[in-house]
Subunit: 81 residues, 2 copies
């Protein structure tokens, strides 16, 4: 697996799963998602353009490089078969 | 395939693909996405809570039942292997 497991993965995994397959209705699957889209979405949660409290809280705690590492991790996960 | 092919699929397919696998960097894959999440996202594009012009234009042209049919279609598409 070329993409290293991000240190802060646990912050996302509680809702999105480590493998990017969410177990909660209403929470998106992230596995295999488009990398640029993930980065755009994270920036929108950070700026508040996407006004979602739980994501603003989670993203606010992370540095840009941590966010990029998490986006790269999830984009590289295989979507469920 | 229990989920009928929505009449307005073409409106979405130009960017998201009929099968929900986007061919454009920055455009999300929709195949196999969580149904409630898709509905929430569509409502956010319609309300402007997600301020994305192309999506506001696309969603604005559709009725709630057409949006639900499209969400159901994409949620039921198999994510790429």
């Amino acid at each position: 697996d070329e993409v290293p497991r991000p240190a802060r993965l646990g912050l996302c995994a509680s809702c999105h799963g480590e493998d990017g397959r969410s177990t909660q209705s209403g929470t998106p699957h992230l596995a295999g998602q488009d990398l640029e889209y993930l980065k755009t979405a994270l920036a929108a949660y950070r700026s508040g353009q996407r006004d979602v409290a739980v994501m603003r809280a989670a993203v606010g705690a992370l540095t840009p490089s941590e966010l990029d590492a998490l986006a790269a991790w999830y984009a590289a996960r295989p979507p469920r078969p």
